[in-house]
């Protein structure tokens, strides 16, 4: 689970077009909530199964971890280290994979297909590679049968049913489910659940493994220079004609 910037609440400095990310509200990345919801559903059908959440973050992520526990995760693991500031998907996936190894045995890893803020979609497949796991991306339906997982994935031109032996890693889309909203009871129960906090040192991760391979030079609000011409008229017919004429003149309709 990623603690992501809540992009719907981001502000832009109109003078510089810089985003005001300092102090911007954070939340669980939407897709990751779908991944957690799906994990809980799978656990409900498989007695004895447990759901753990794994998070890496440059800053305290307790609120997000507690929310995951309130939704129904059994235990949360996190590595919080200022060294993650500016980490890229290569470093993030490496640390997450080392966390998986330290946690121990597992059947399935579910990730969000992308994150809410950076929207890269690389961490899941990178982890699958590091852990040498079968991976299925763009998953919108999952069925677990014995030691096999069957997932339905959406491609641009087809829908595929894909089978893999567990352990496996799946990246899920937002279509897969509607994440539950924890009740007050669940929130109270979650306060007793365990959050395991590790450092990079606990995981024996050398600094070069988290060194970024890419560098963000700038991130500016896009310029949208549009004409912003309002079309009005006495009657709706007049509006229709004015608009049609304007589009014809722009050369965007007809032959």
């Amino acid at each position: 689970m990623k603690q992501a910037v809540d992009v719907s609440q981001l502000k832009v400095d109109p003078a510089t077009r810089q985003l005001v990310t300092a102090g911007a509200p954070k939340k669980i990345s939407d897709f990751d909530k779908n991944a957690l919801e799906e994990s809980i559903k799978i656990r409900e059908k498989n007695a004895g199964a447990e759901v753990f959440t794994l998070t890496v973050s440059p800053e305290d992520a307790k609120v997000v971890l507690r929310e995951g526990l309130a939704m129904g995760a059994d235990k949360a693991y996190c590595v919080v280290d200022p060294a993650f500031q500016g980490v890229d998907t290569s470093g993030t996936s490496y640390v997450l994979s080392e966390m998986v190894r330290k946690v121990g045995e597992f059947d399935l890893i579910l990730c969000g297909d992308s994150s809410l803020d950076s929207f890269s979609g690389l961490v899941g497949p990178r982890m699958a590679e590091l852990l040498n796991l079968p991976q299925i991306t763009s998953v919108k339906k999952v069925v677990v049968e014995g030691d096999t997982v069957i997932a339905e994935r959406s491609l641009e031109d087809a829908v595929e049913m894909v089978k893999a032996k567990m352990p496996a890693l799946l990246s899920v889309t937002r279509e897969i489910n509607q994440p539950r909203i924890p009740s007050l009871m669940m929130i109270m129960k979650a306060s007793k659940k365990e959050i395991v906090a590790w450092t990079l040192k606990d995981l024996n991760i050398p600094a070069e493994k988290t060194a970024a391979k890419i560098e963000v030079l700038e991130a500016l609000a896009p310029k949208m220079e549009r004409k912003k011409i309002k079309i009005a008229g006495e009657t709706v017919e007049e509006i229709g004609e004015k608009l049609a004429k304007a589009l014809l003149q722009e050369g965007v309709v007809g032959r």
């Binding site: 497949p125 560098e215 011409i229 509006i239």
Partner: protein, 321 residues
Amino acid sequence: MNGQGGVWVFSEVYDLTLEMLGKGRELADKLQTELSAIVIGNNVQDKADELVKYGADKVYLIDHSALERFQAEAYLGIIQNLALKSHPEILLIGSTRNGKPLAARLSTRLDAGCVPDCIRLSIDDKKRLVGERITYGGNAIAKITFKSKPQVATVPLRAFEKPEKKDHNGQVVKSDFKVEPAKTEVVERKPLETSSVRIEEAQSIVSGGRGLEKKDDIALLQDLAKILGGQVGCSRPLVEDRKWFTDWIGLSGHKVKPKLYIACGVSGVIQHVAGIRDSKIIVAINKDPEAPIFEVADYGVVGDLYQVVPALRDALKKMLQ
């Protein structure tokens, strides 16, 4: 030019390969290096030959009956081995649902950085690749460069123009390969209805948002789209909240750049706008004069889409006759 370094492109989608070759040619010329394409498939010699005409100096051809369809591990292993042998400086991979995870895994195997979904690419004065991508849910465009090589970037469909075909000298190299065993098995594949053209290809799009009162009212937009020879789309709430449709236009859905985009009853949240920002002309029809869509529209009508859309349809019909 000894085959070391160079700019490489790969996509399992042919059109996207061509588009990346156009941009790749520019990057390779700037770096004074070779442009190569990788073609994997069954009976694809013709395609490989054609890629030379689209600007490739070298085409690595892997042609085998077992490679008809995309297979993650097989394709990954092939590209990895070629890259380990010839050390490309830049790898452009098509950002499809299969291509992006392929790029991610390849980057991991090659210990490389990866910048996904680049809508612009350039070379800076330090000869590094710089990719621009939409980030923070459409709130920003980030310029990102690399600190190590190879530099892997993924490129979405329609980000770059398909180049002109012309005479060009290049060679097609048949390459040896081993098929890496698959870790997953596709047990069923249902092609999506192909009756309509992909919305990314549409020259004009009429899209509906929350302002549509019921699912059947999409017919209203279809009428207008028909006159324009275009297609109909919708914004995410009609998929996510109302479950009327399965595909939406926006940052997380289809990113489009038609000549004409008409948003009907679409409020214009930033994620939607990020998916239409490269449209030539944007028209907004919305009851709410405060709707943010008007800020990004060339032409705006404050009014009821149920009246304005038919009026526009009738006016266009008359004029185009």
